[in-house]
Symmetry: C2
Subunit: 550 residues, 2 copies
């Protein structure tokens, strides 16, 4: 059977746009003489629609779009598209009102041919909030072009106890559809990228193809939905290999013939290449989905802001990125030099807004009430907040968006000023550890120095008091990141983290306390592009609690 895997970029709630996109791909598939055309999970409404699903009017708009789509696709094609379906027994038997489902469009008719059984409700995923799990995945088999096709939706393919060595859920929908006679299995997914995801996903799908001895057709979304970055990477896999190289971070129609031998092996891609592509996609999608074109970034001469500016240029073009240097009396001389050099190399506009007059003015206003000039933390935070206000003033005056330049390490321990350097509409690198920030920056310089090497090499400093270094308050980042990965990404205890990293238990406990104390800052942190499987919005911790570890 000739199958078109359509890796498309749906936008949440853009029914007209999504319908048009799906129709366009089905027409291309028809020209290529495909017999079956497959789109991603919830391709009709975009993923994740979240509480829009609670609005009856949204569901009506969805149903109208599905009806329109059904009549608009080429009649003779069998089109599988991810959509929402009513749970018909919710009223009588109870349960959530909807299913995460798959419609088969054929000959001007739409029928729901599959419903999702395994609903991810962890990390950034909240599907149990909206959908009822489907208890009978063995019914998700339909005949298309004379072949029995088993259909599963995303997480349905992630519960093979042979592959994972244990079950997360009671049933394995892939096994069920194969036992029910499926000659091939189609997986419609909206599976966002995180570090290592593409390689893991291939191994998992390949294991299923080998175990069940049927072709696995895996179709994934592509495109950015605020924090989530869908990478596509759609796969057609038999036990012998893949039909074509997966394509990451762009739309693609992949035509495969299930009768042919598939023998390729996916070529590995550097993690930095995937990170760059994910973040670039994320910046572009977010800025454009808000109807903006331009961003403004505070450039400190440090590596975080240099990396964000470089990625923003890759996303939007150099004419759409503005850098602002905001030196204080505590700023090093190289801070402005390095910032300007970066701007010159990137070819972006650069403005200087020295904050000394503002510092003087705030001191004048505050001194009578404080009985002294602001000091300590108040003085340090003031500088950061003046800069945050200047960036927002520039953005408001010119209709730009501010990008936040914080990284995951500083965000973890609260080494940042809320309403200051955390200001922004989007935080592109707040899910990258500082050590990853350096690695990605070096990788971006692999064919020539885009980011000034001094910004990469110099000791990190907030420059909020004379001679300040990050290491005055924190361990070196190589050590810090190791500890934070244990505590945050692996949920290890203070005790085990200390054993594993060699840092003393007291110091680990102090860092764990810092992570907890920063919850309220993260609660108000901008949306962050997700490139790990433990990003901030997927880690839902109480803002205030009294749990301590020693």
């Amino acid at each position: 059977m000739r199958v078109a895997l359509c890796q498309i970029d749906s936008t949440v709630g853009d029914f007209a746009g999504n319908v048009a996109r799906i129709v366009e791909f089905t027409r291309r598939a028809a020209v290529l003489r495909a017999e079956m055309v497959v789109f991603p999970e919830l391709a009709l409404c975009g993923y994740p629609p979240e509480d829009l699903l609670v609005r009856p009017s949204f569901r009506q708009a969805h149903d109208a779009a599905l009806a329109e789509l059904t009549l608009a696709v080429p009649r003779h094609l069998a089109v599988l598209v991810g959509c929402v379906a009513e749970n018909e027994t919710a009223g009588t038997l109870g349960g959530r009102p909807l299913h995460n489902a798959v419609a088969l469009l054929r000959d001007g008719e739409a029928s729901i041919v599959a419903r999702k059984s395994l609903l991810p409700t962890y990390d950034v995923f909240d599907e149990s909030r909206y959908f009822e799990p489907w208890k009978a995945p063995e019914q998700n088999v339909v005949t298309i072009a004379g072949r029995r096709v088993g259909i599963v939706v995303c997480e349905d393919g992630w519960n093979d106890e042979h592959f994972f060595d244990q079950r997360s859920y009671a049933i394995d929908p892939v096994q069920r559809v194969v036992q029910a006679g499926a000659e091939m299995v189609v997986n419609l997914s909206a599976s966002p990228w995180s570090r290592g995801k593409e390689e893991f996903r291939y191994r998992m799908v390949a294991a299923a193809a080998a175990r069940h001895r049927v072709p696995m057709l895996y179709v994934n979304s592509v495109g950015g939905d605020v924090e989530l970055q869908f990478d596509g990477g759609s796969l057609a896999v038999k036990a012998t290999g893949v039909a074509a190289q997966p394509v990451a971070f762009r739309e693609q129609l992949i035509l495969v013939d299930t009768e042919q031998a598939w023998t390729q092996t996916p070529a590995p891609v550097a993690v930095e290449a995937m990170q760059q592509a994910a973040i670039v996609q994320g910046i572009r999608a977010y800025v454009h989905k808000f109807g903006f074109q331009n961003v403004v970034i505070g450039l400190s001469g440090g590596i975080d802001s240099a990396l964000v500016a470089t990625l923003a240029v890759d996303a939007l073009g150099r004419d759409h990125v503005v850098g602002i240097g905001m030196p204080s009396t505590f700023s090093s001389e190289h801070s402005v030099v390095d910032a300007r050099q970066l701007a010159d190399r990137l070819g972006i506009a650069f403005h200087l807004l020295p904050i000394a007059p503002l510092q003087a003015s705030f001191n004048t206003v505050l001194q009578p009430v404080f009985g002294q000039a602001p000091s300590g933390l108040a003085e340090e935070n003031l500088q950061s907040r003046m800069r945050g206000v200047l960036l927002m003033a520039f953005a408001n005056q010119h209709g730009h968006l501010v990008l936040t330049t914080g990284n995951k390490s500083e965000c973890a321990v609260g080494y940042c000023t809320i309403y200051g350097d955390t200001n922004g509409a989007l935080a592109p690198i707040a899910d990258l550890w500082k050590t990853e920030v350096w690695a990605l920056s070096r990788w971006l310089n692999r064919e020539g120095e885009r980011i000034p090497s001094r910004s990469i090499e110099k000791a990190p400093s907030a420059e909020l008091r004379p001679g300040q270094l990050d290491t005055d308050s924190l361990p070196p980042y190589a050590e810090l990141d190791l500890v934070l990965r244990c505590l945050i990404e692996e949920d290890l205890s203070v005790e085990i983290t200390a054993k594993r990293t060699g840092m003393s238990r007291e110091r680990v406990a102090a860092l764990f306390a810092k992570v907890q104390a920063a919850e309220w800052k993260r609660y108000q942190y901008p949306p962050t592009l997700r490139v790990s499987d433990r990003c901030w919005s997927g880690r839902r911790m109480p803002v205030a609690h009294r749990y301590r570890e020693q």
Copy 2:
């Protein structure tokens, strides 16, 4: 049977404190010759522990606390306490690793005697993220003092299809335990308050008592957990009435005898009294849980900041609240007069920090780059942000927390400046519509004018440009709130909202678009005390999407 309903205030993660509290109440119950003592849902670890439950070390600490508690309570007492229990079949059959459970402590032994079947996963609740639903609630029956006691946990009591006219879930655990022979039903709850909750809860529990003809013993948490405000309001209900008047917003041991006649009817309480109590509890709990004592509030002379300051005084005492007036050249004369009068009436410290010097200074810095002074939105937002920076400087210098003064109406339509007047550690009234703000303020003045009447009566204005009024940009709040309640609290479409309110469809659509456009501000909004069943953190909308309604 003599039963002690222990309405206690557990703190999330404070195992030592929670154990001590539970032990203290059991000793009081023993003195009162109770035979059974009942504590709320998850009383051992506090509700909601959220992703702390994902940490193995947290679960170990929980289990150690349960073991300690088991030995510490009076041996002869039967103590029911909400706790976490392992899902023993997760490893083999799949499913979430935990149950939301109830332990019976008796004679130095702990046994899990009930597990929760119905897991709220909507609004602010995410229980499906952590817990496996219990399929056999009929097993939740245990013999205590010779009587068969049925045990359910919170939501388990909220699926009576006779009361609700429909089912939300497949099973009714209350019916199951009664069918299994329960002579009384105990409900351990952590059910946060929202408008009308206490009255609805009584009707529901009373309906169950009447239908099943058994005493219903409903024990609810009390106390503030960041956004959620547990009101207690524990109830002992038979078909004939309640055993004692429910007590709201404070800890209480309620001793009841199931053999006696219960004939009281709960006295209704004014909604404003409940709102005040909830917000006061919330401010106090949040400030103290963070280890702070004092708050600082920007006082504009308007009603929102006046109400927040008054409630903060009720929560913390007048010596722990500081007001700051920050007039600009656009501020009305009465703004400072009214702010100072409020401060005088409340007896709180008040400082003036005029922002004119800062405005001049920002203009000086920005003019060379802008080619003009900041104008329009940039100029308006700058003023709000200078104030936000001043408040944070005061808080940082003195170790105070900033309270945010925004209300739900302005938060809904984005009539606020992010990183400006939205700054703060907690937003006490951001779940109160503006019309509710006025009503609550008038109620607080019922025995004498605490809030200056001019602050209540004058036309709302942001005072960010000469002569500005809220009604320049928005409909009058009485109309606006009506529309927003339809759109947000009832999820009605633009079309139906227009029909119901009489506002034109175009104007409703424009307001709906404003609500959507403000999602990114709310994403970064401070934690908000929840007093409705559609607060911001329980309404999970995509930050950016393209769904529109007309």
